[in-house]
């Protein structure tokens, strides 16, 4: 790996904005995910977490601002850059007609792994995410949680160093949550930069190095992962922001 790529943030948004009809979206967000860091996004439903993640992955084009992956503009990123990215935003890559293993092999192919390296990579991730029992089962017959496991495993099997996971604990049982947590901590320790969104503040506190709070499409502050009452601190930030926006009509006009 070159020195420049190692120093660039794994993921970076600079004043990125994308508005939808009705005022939803994100309105000028700055955010970085550094190598070796787990950066958590928290916010209420509709705050803009998923929109921000979609912008970082090229699923949406920004109205303004810049979005970079491993130092390269998302619109300009080449195959080598994308081969180091892993993501799960909303729906896992789990085709109903394919078995758990076949889905992982498809994910490996799509992430650019050479065919001869695929069996090993799939074996490793099947073990890491305890998927052996489901490897031969069609995804259509898997529970929501196990499909999610397959999806997370497929997003990580090529050892990406820029990772975006939108509520990855969705549907996971307590054992799955622990497996995921350990996987993310291990990957961050190996140099991956991981952006993860979650509604579970306790879980976030266990894995995140930084917690950014988003409300109404803006970054409104940060929480200390070592803090004692994250829930109280979170709502204090959100309510203060809501109050400030409703109290200041000029601010609201800017937002619209």
């Amino acid at each position: 790996m070159s020195a420049a790529a190692a120093e660039a943030p794994r993921l970076e948004a600079r004043m990125v904005a994308r508005a939808f009809r009705g005022g939803a979206g994100v309105h000028g967000i700055d955010l970085t995910v550094e190598p070796g860091e787990i950066h958590a996004l928290v916010g209420l439903n509709g705050a803009g977490k998923t929109t921000l993640m979609r912008l970082l992955l090229g699923m949406l084009r920004p109205d303004s601002g810049a979005v970079r992956v491993r130092g390269r503009d998302v619109a300009e990123a080449d195959a080598a850059t994308w081969a180091r990215v892993g993501q799960l935003v909303e729906h896992p890559l789990a085709y109903a007609e394919l078995t758990g293993r076949a889905n992982l092999e498809a994910a490996a192919r799509l992430h650019g792994l050479e065919p001869r390296r695929i069996p090993d990579a799939v074996d490793r991730v099947v073990e890491e995410f305890a998927l052996a029992r489901y490897a031969g089962v069609r995804a259509s017959r898997l529970s929501l949680g196990n499909r999610q496991r397959v999806g997370v495993a497929g997003a990580l099997l090529h050892d990406p160093d820029a990772v975006v996971l939108d509520e990855p604990t969705n549907g996971l049982d307590p054992a799955g949550v622990i497996v995921l947590r350990e996987s993310l901590l291990r990957r961050a320790a190996a140099g991956a930069g991981i952006l993860v969104s979650s509604h579970h503040l306790d879980e976030v506190a266990r894995v995140a190095d930084r917690i950014t709070v988003i409300n109404d499409g803006r970054v409104i502050g940060a929480l200390d992962p070592a803090g004692i009452d994250l829930e109280r601190a979170f709502f204090a930030l959100v309510h203060e922001d809501d109050r400030a926006r409703t109290a200041d009509p000029t601010e609201q006009e800017d937002a619209a």
Binding site: V85, Q87, L93, A94, L98, A107, R109, L110, G112
Partner: protein, 280 residues
């Protein structure tokens, strides 16, 4: 950055490598991987398997029933067959098969394409097709290539079934010279597959299966109504159906225009995939 030390003794080619780092994802990057994954999905899918069986076995059975009914003088069937009624041997059998295929085959191909493209949106799996070293244009083209290969397989299978049917009916001895008629089957099957391609584009724009199926039905209606009215030999969407009913009215050159449909709509589809945003 490339290591500076190699600069001095590197051939001129090495400097040409430097700008390559700035080049974005090639338009069809990862096409091989896309084809492999799409082929695997298609072969594992029950939609594709059941469509193939329904189409091949269904058309074979339907043709047999219609021929037997016509032979026994069933009036409604005779009316449906029109000029084909009473045509003996291979020409009669192939004529019936083509007439059914021009509508039913087109429907099957349109449904298969709508599923191939629309299911990514309906199942939400399209989100997993972003952020990859495989471009989305390559994924769309991979889908179209797998579809094309599948349609050739369907053409071969249907031809084989009809050949078996014909020989079983004794046409091997009674109408040995007419066996060449069979060639018209794979031609019409592939032409029908080609004019179904707009369904892929509409399924993409409409983000689901139903818009693609609606587009397919619209193509069938246009093709069948025009063919029955005996107009549109030079309209690529109509020429195959017209050729199926009355081969003499459609010049070969008109059939050659048919690939313009998959070309135009294939380009539109891959373009739509490369510009795709998950904004609705």
């Amino acid at each position: 950055m490339s290591p500076r030390a190699t600069r001095t003794d590197a051939p001129p080619r090495a400097t040409a490598h430097a700008p390559r780092r700035r080049r974005p994802l090639a338009p069809f990057a990862g096409l091989g991987a896309a084809v492999a994954v799409e082929a695997r999905k298609a072969t594992a899918s029950r939609v594709m398997a059941s469509t193939t069986v329904l189409l091949v076995a269904g058309i074979g059975a339907l043709a047999l029933v219609m021929l037997l009914a016509a032979a026994s003088g069933e009036e409604q069937v005779l009316a449906k067959l029109g000029p084909l009624a009473g045509v003996p041997g291979w020409a009669g059998l192939v004529g019936v098969v083509l007439q059914i295929t021009a509508a039913a085959g087109l429907l099957a191909f349109g449904v298969a394409l709508s599923w191939t493209f629309g299911r990514e949106f309906a199942d939400g799996t399209v989100a997993a097709l972003f952020g990859l070293p495989v471009s989305r244009a390559a994924i769309a083209l991979g889908k179209l290539l797998v579809y094309a290969a599948w349609s050739v397989g369907v053409a071969v299978a249907l031809t084989a079934v009809v050949a078996v049917l014909g020989f079983a009916m004794g046409f091997g001895t009674t109408d040995a010279a007419g066996v060449g008629e069979l060639v018209r089957i794979p031609v019409l099957v592939v032409l029908s597959a080609l004019i179904a391609v707009p369904a892929a584009w509409v399924a993409t724009l409409g983000r689901g299966l139903l818009p693609g199926i609606a587009a397919t039905i619209a193509i069938i209606v246009v093709a069948q109504v025009s063919a029955l009215a005996d107009v549109g030999a030079w309209v690529p969407l109509v020429a195959p159906a017209l050729w199926a009913i009355a081969p003499g009215t459609v010049p070969a050159a008109a059939l050659v225009t048919v690939p313009s449909v998959p070309l135009v709509f294939g380009v539109l589809t891959t373009w739509a995939w490369s510009r795709l945003q998950l904004d609705r």
